[in-house]
């Protein structure tokens, strides 16, 4: 660089910095890349909402399916719910619900109830929610203490996982599923997975 345009150096550095900041502004700090992508979906055994069986991810070996973390107290889940209902009506992809900590720790009085009573109450509340707003789930399991949630790295409800035939997690989305996400991300991925 000649002496004449040496003054350009700080200017270029400035624009590089502005570029970095602009990218940083657009990124959502709450979206933490999951280390579980392309890893086996953690195994669990949880009671279903209907109460007559135990579900384990191994039951769905050979299928491409979605695991959707939800709760009746979760506001964004309500926003997401009609989208999920429409999605399952249109496509035949099984969506399994994971009801995450339905009875919240701050519900102190309810927490003093015995475990089976709490489970019963959680079932009632979830069922009421699904009866009223539609049920997108082939089945939903109850993770009362959030332990399975920790296995999956859940840190905000709703969360959605795409799991393939081999039981590998292929995609994770934090926050409500939107029609845009379905069209741009989920459907292409699901089609690609179904082919294999």
């Amino acid at each position: 660089m000649t002496l004449k345009n040496k003054f350009l150096i700080p200017l270029i550095l400035f624009f590089v910095l502005v570029g970095f900041l602009a990218v940083g502004l657009k990124r959502d700090p709450h979206e933490i890349p999951s280390p579980l992508i392309n890893k086996a979906a953690p195994a669990f055994e949880l009671p279903t909402l209907s109460g007559d069986q135990i579900f384990s991810p191994a039951d769905y070996k050979g299928k491409v399916w979605l695991l959707n973390v939800w709760a009746t107290w979760c506001v964004s889940c309500r926003e997401e719910h009609p989208v999920l209902v429409a999605f399952t009506q249109q496509y035949h992809i099984p969506v399994v619900g994971l009801s995450y900590k339905e009875i919240q720790p701050q519900e102190t009085q309810l927490n003093q109830l015995p475990t089976d009573k709490k489970l019963q109450l959680a079932r009632q509340r979830s069922q009421l929610f699904l009866n009223r707003l539609g049920n997108p789930y082939v089945l939903s399991v109850l993770d009362m203490d959030g332990r399975v949630g920790i296995q999956y790295g859940v840190y905000g409800v709703p969360e959605t996982y795409v799991i393939d035939q081999q039981g590998i997690i292929r995609y994770k989305h934090v926050g409500p599923v939107t029609p845009d996400l379905i069209d741009k991300k989920l459907l292409p991925l699901l089609r690609q997975l179904e082919k294999t």
């Binding site: 933490i32 999951s34 280390p35 579980l36 332990r147 920790i150 999956y152 790295g153 840190y155």
Partner: protein, 151 residues
């Protein structure tokens, strides 16, 4: 008036109690608790991202502390516990990221910048000294041979 002031003072003094939350049951074992405290200070709460797991009051932090407590009781080492969390939540849970190729820029970038800055300073100073020397030489020459025309 005095009554109103009295009432206000009363409100301000005692309203804090309203925000207080029930203390969480400590584990019976003080050794577990001590280790939890040290570990949780190095781990990030994923909900309120600028708080450590030790200081956060969020629900997830409660759950993760319970998990760490259980792992301690199972006799896991600090590293095993950190690996457990990293496998599920990613490197982001660690306040002090590990040194590995992807974090090299993070760890060594500042030193690299310092080196570049020092090199630039050294170069600038040398250039200035050379320029000064040249100037002095030229000046000395012109004093030595004031009349000699520059050929």
């Amino acid at each position: 008036m005095k009554r109103i002031i009295g009432a206000l003072v009363f409100t301000f003094v005692f309203s804090n109690a309203l925000y207080a939350r029930e203390a969480h049951p400590y584990s019976e074992d003080p050794v577990v608790e001590a280790r939890l405290l040290v570990l949780a200070d190095e781990l990030r709460c994923l909900v309120c991202q600028n708080e450590s797991l030790a200081s956060s009051r969020s629900e997830l932090a409660d759950d993760l502390r319970r998990e760490v407590r259980d792992l301690i009781r199972q006799g896991k080492t600090d590293n095993q516990i950190k690996t457990f969390l990293v496998e599920r939540y990613g490197d982001f849970v660690l306040y002090r990221p590990e040194v590995k190729p992807i974090t090299w820029i993070l760890w060594f970038g500042p030193f690299l910048l310092l080196l570049i800055a020092m090199w630039s300073l050294w170069r600038y100073l040398r250039m200035r000294r050379d320029a000064l020397l040249q100037h002095q030489q030229a000046k000395a020459q012109s004093i030595e041979n004031p009349i000699t025309p520059q050929d």
